[in-house]
């Protein structure tokens, strides 16, 4: 039978729930957020929310998944316009240099994201999700570094794996510090970027 509402309508409804949920989670945390909160925020009844998601956790799950997908697309799209490996890596730093990490909404999202990561740590099933995301992010850098080594842009002696990890360590490190009001985010990150790019450059 033909669906009674358009696929588009359902998509919009679902993403409305997702964005409301994200905002609630960011404000109060996953546990403290009730399904009623999400309903009130999105103007969608509790019962309806359960038409779109199996459980509160499923919303959480999809939120992270969606974010991963979006990141993937964004990076792929932007990488395609960039030729050199160094410019790609530079772009990756810039992603984090061009957002406002102290904006309450952004900060909330960051916190939610880390909290969910920790939450996953305690569930076999969810751990997988986190691992996959982690590997995906790691590989982006790894592959870019390898490309650069092949093209001669990047020092052939560096340990690609180590440097990939180091990249995300920096990002996690600065992101985490944003919970402190007066953390000089941009200064620190900009310096770390320059140093990082300098080190890997072919001598």
């Amino acid at each position: 039978m033909a669906p009674i509402v358009s696929k588009d309508y359902k998509e919009r409804r679902k993403s409305s729930i997702l964005s409301s949920a994200l905002e609630c989670f960011a404000q109060k945390g996953f546990v403290a957020t009730t399904v009623d909160d999400i309903g009130a925020h999105s103007g969608i009844s509790k019962g309806s929310i359960y038409n779109y998601f199996e459980s509160k956790e499923a919303i959480y799950f999809e939120l992270l998944n969606t974010a991963t997908e979006r990141d993937k697309e964004n990076i792929t799209k932007n990488f395609s316009t960039l030729r050199s490996s160094l410019s790609k890596l530079s772009y990756m730093f810039d992603v984090f240099l061009t957002l406002d990490p102290f904006n309450p909404k952004r900060l909330g999202t960051t916190v939610v994201f880390y909290e969910f990561t920790f939450h996953c740590t305690r569930s076999e099933k969810l751990l997988d999700l986190v691992t996959k995301r982690g590997n995906f992010l790691l590989n982006i850098i790894k592959e870019t570094l390898e490309e650069g080594q092949e093209s001669g842009e990047i020092d052939k002696n560096i340990d690609v794996n180590l440097y990939a990890h180091r990249f995300w360590l920096i990002i996690d490190g600065v992101s985490l510090q944003t919970i402190h009001k007066d953390f000089p985010y941009y200064d620190v990150l900009r310096e770390m970027k320059e140093m990082y790019l300098e080190e890997i450059k072919a001598k």
Copy 2:
């Protein structure tokens, strides 16, 4: 009325609750841990626990506070045996190079601490605790760097504040990555240490 039980007895009881709580929190997370869990683990009755702590959150709170105090003491004690600024900073790195971050208990503790930090983010009162701890940790490095600059050990041109932040960024970064099973913790941290110390050294 004279106290019926010795102060020492009470101290032991309290710290028994604390260590049990930490283990439970590490295993299941703060929210999922019930006061009964802590009771069962410590062998102390639920009612009794409330003689020592106002609330479950108070236990959490004291746990972080105690850890901060212990860190403070440890650092002070060890710093007193160290003369040069560089050796002090080296020691600070070594603190994290000599623990086993993948040990489940340790990993759990790490997660709990970050979780609590995030939790505090949402409460004016608790945020203060985190800020104080953050400042304390930051200042240790700052002061050491300043000492080094005065004594000529450390490059006078570096921005002390920036480098202090950078130190903790590194620590937070590597700690966070330990949730990934195959993160080359020691390799990465060792390299970061060498690089860090090299950079700040007076030229």
Copy 3:
């Protein structure tokens, strides 16, 4: 406006809902069966079901009513081919001797019917339904016994009312026992039948 679909179509649809409902109820019980279950089983949408029935309970209600009607018709039809009272009573026993009470579907149906009967016990309105059905069934036997007494087939001294009740007591009794896997249904019922018929026979 002329009806868009034929009356026949609607009848078929309605009875499809009824038979699906019966099967669902038999399998999971009335409360545990959701309207969605009935929809899934019958291939008729939830919304449509409510075009045919006011409520889930109305389906239950009609199920019993329909069964009563069907029983009524069956008995009338079969009685019309039977001359003697004793053969009619014999036939009534045979109805229950020729079904397979341990067949899961049959057993489920039995349970559903008793459950609904009990359910009705608690509602003035529904109790009426049960009473009517009860009286109808009772009267069939009563009338047959009276006919037999008039015709001389059946002992004039027996209390017709008592023996009518006794008939249904036997049927309820053996039906109920079928929930026990190894109840010798046929043996017991056959013997009860013989004894019953022997007793009422005119001496």
Copy 4:
């Protein structure tokens, strides 16, 4: 540690919950009864009820179990004072002849009992309970009949198993009929008793 309340106190509390639950179940049925209902009826808070029982179903379960135990004890006690098999069987009938089956409370209990039996029909675990109870009741009659055959009181030709089933068939049959207001319970049961005892008597 010594329990803080007496075992007796807890027993009384538990049985208070049980009897309240029975009354609520009898009045509204198992599903319609909320845990709050039981709480209100017993004056015990919902939370407390869960200190004594794992779930609403567990209360139901224990109710049936307790009834079985009580029956067992009663029968054993009374049988010990009776010498002949026939008097024992007579006593078994009298158990049901000396209660008031139309008393609302009693009727409610009967209905609850059958409802639960049906409910069990759909759960492997619970079916066991019902089977055990069924076998126990069956065996009482069987054993008594066998004793009687050995002592010469009871006809050696009767099929003990069949007659045991027939006993409970009668009891179930008359119990079920009590949902009809004008069922001549005593008359029917008394006659069935006499007939039953007459038939099995050694000729």
